[in-house]
């Protein structure tokens, strides 16, 4: 199947701004799914609210556009009731880690087999450029005219600590790496998190004088380095990219199936 066959083409061109990294993430995700040859009827995409959340309208899967921050909670209901489905949950940074932070850590704790994609543009785009829990200090936003004083979460460290069994970080510049990581994340049995740094030229870029989309992509190239690379060793202040966690731990739906088997046996005997 061609890449286009996974899209609801009648809704294109999409609603994202010119140069928005979210489109590139959709692009990488579709390439990854095409490579995996997944059956469209067995994919459910659950999203929350925000620019990122609109992604679910553009894919020709079962799609559930839910409430701000709650995508993982809805997705947990879908996955636990039909564990054979591939459940993909793309979220914005505010969506996943401010209003949805509780659901994020608990989905990781359960190690339920869901692929969480954090589309991190460090800003609330849909509402016009307010700072997010991933903005970090020293950022200008419409609600931080004097610059932010809030520290940011490190998505990778948070996901690791909460118990996610696959944790990766990449950017909208490193598209091949991005596709590869999404493929691995989807194949991984358990809760997987892929943080993808995504440029918002309209709000973050303009407020913070980072230039246009091309310039912002250049910053991802210059300010990040591959895990285990010489560049990272020499310049430890760079943001590391790569797969940080890839391990096995009992998966929630499989464990629940054991509960069912036990309860049924107990009842009969």
């Amino acid at each position: 199947m061609a890449v286009q066959d996974y899209l609801r083409q009648r809704f294109f061109p999409h609603m994202w701004c010119p140069g928005c990294g979210h489109g590139t993430i959709l692009n990488a995700l579709i390439h990854s799914i095409e490579e995996l040859k997944l059956n469209k009827n067995e994919i459910v995409m659950v999203s929350g609210i925000g620019c990122s959340a609109r992604i679910s309208g553009y894919v020709d899967f079962h799609s559930l556009h839910t409430l701000h921050g709650r995508a993982l909670a809805f997705a947990t209901g879908v996955k636990l009731s039909r564990p054979h489905l591939n459940v993909l949950v793309p979220m914005g940074d505010g969506d996943a880690l401010a209003i949805g932070g509780n659901h994020f850590i608990h989905a990781a704790r359960r190690n339920i087999d869901i692929t969480a994609i954090v589309m991190n543009n460090r800003i609330y785009g849909m509402t016009g450029g307010q700072f997010s829990p991933l903005s970090g200090p020293g950022v200008k936003a419409t609600t931080a005219p004097y610059k932010t004083i809030d520290s940011s979460f490190d998505v990778v460290e948070l996901a690791k600590a909460a118990g996610a069994t696959f944790v990766a970080r990449t950017t909208a510049f490193h598209v091949k790496e991005c596709t590869e990581m999404l493929t691995k994340a989807i194949l991984h049995k358990g809760f997987s998190v892929v943080e993808i740094m995504s440029q918002c030229p309209t709000h973050f870029g303009r407020k913070n004088k980072e230039g246009d989309a091309v310039n912002m992509l250049g910053l991802y190239k210059d300010n990040t380095a591959k895990l285990g690379s010489k560049a990272l060793e020499e310049k430890p202040h760079l943001i590391p990219r790569g797969i940080f966690v890839e391990k096995e731990r009992p998966e929630y739906c499989e464990e629940y199936d054991k509960i069912i088997a036990y309860a049924m046996k107990e009842k009969i005997s």
Partner: protein
Amino acid sequence: MPKNIRFVQGNEACVEGALYAGLDFYAGYPITPSTEIAEQLSQRLPEIGGKFIQMEDEIASMCAIIGASLTGKKVMTATSGPGFSLKQEAIGYACMTEIPCVIANVQRGGPSTGNPTHVSQGDINQARWGTHGDHAIIALTASNHQDVFKMTVDAFNMAETYRTPVILLFDEAVGHMREKLIIPEKGELEIVDRLRTAVAKDVDYHPYLPREDGRLPMSDFGAEHRYNVTGLFHDMWGFPSNNPKIVNELLRHLVDKIENNVQAITRYKEHCLEDAEYILVSYGSSARSAIHLAQNRRNKGEKIGVLELQSLWPFPTELVKEKCSDAKAVLVVEMNMGQVLTQVKAAVKSPDRVFLANRIDGQLITPSNIKQLLRVIQGRGV
């Protein structure tokens, strides 16, 4: 054949009713005084291959059951006071997306943390207007365990029939007291199953295009028809739209599908009502005291009757109007500041003859509490 007779809490009667109705997915969060529902289901559901999950909070529980319902499951959650507040946004989502689900609210005293272990009926209006925006909702209640069972079955049936969240408004007294429950045989009560689309694979399926009878056949997530579900106003394919015509039609549909069926949804019981001069309108555990008083005074020749409401939303205005038209006075017996009183006043010809007999201190209203007020109204002193 010996009947299946049990001695149970009201919360257990709700569990039995849910399982009888075909529940196969429950998500919840512990909260007094509804927790027994979760505890029981954590044991019972896996025994029949169903799923139980304790979520991280009340909001997540509500969201999880909506997700599960979309895959074709019959779902419910249970909560009380503060938890009911937290679930409201997602209840609105289920209204907008027309996803069947059942929410049991075993009421306790509020606002806020309030009176967790004591009875109240303070959430009647929240059940109606808790979520933002115009919408319609179904809320059922019961005063004894046989009716808790029956109303729970009805709640699941109505959720499927009207594709809507249905709220069970029980209260702490009914939830925690123990009494007899006869579990009906399979087939004794009607069960409404999920109406699934007959549209064939590869033929355009419109998830939000009502049939001629107003019903919307569903397609399970994971099945052949892929469609979109959104809390935004949406077209017949489920895709977002702010087209004024579509917005107008959808909102009217959401309200009309329930308000136009008020007769079919209405559930009530009459106790000594036929020639009653004084009518007590009540529901839930407070109806038990009202019924006790009415029967007691009947034995002494007083013409007192009870209209026991079992469906509170959509409010059975016509029923109340008809039953109460000839009464000398109507007393609304409830454990709040007059939430059903307002509805009854709006329904009858002479609202100045409608009085509130309430108790709001966390204690069950007693027959003598009601009698005191009745005597004042009757002009027979305090």
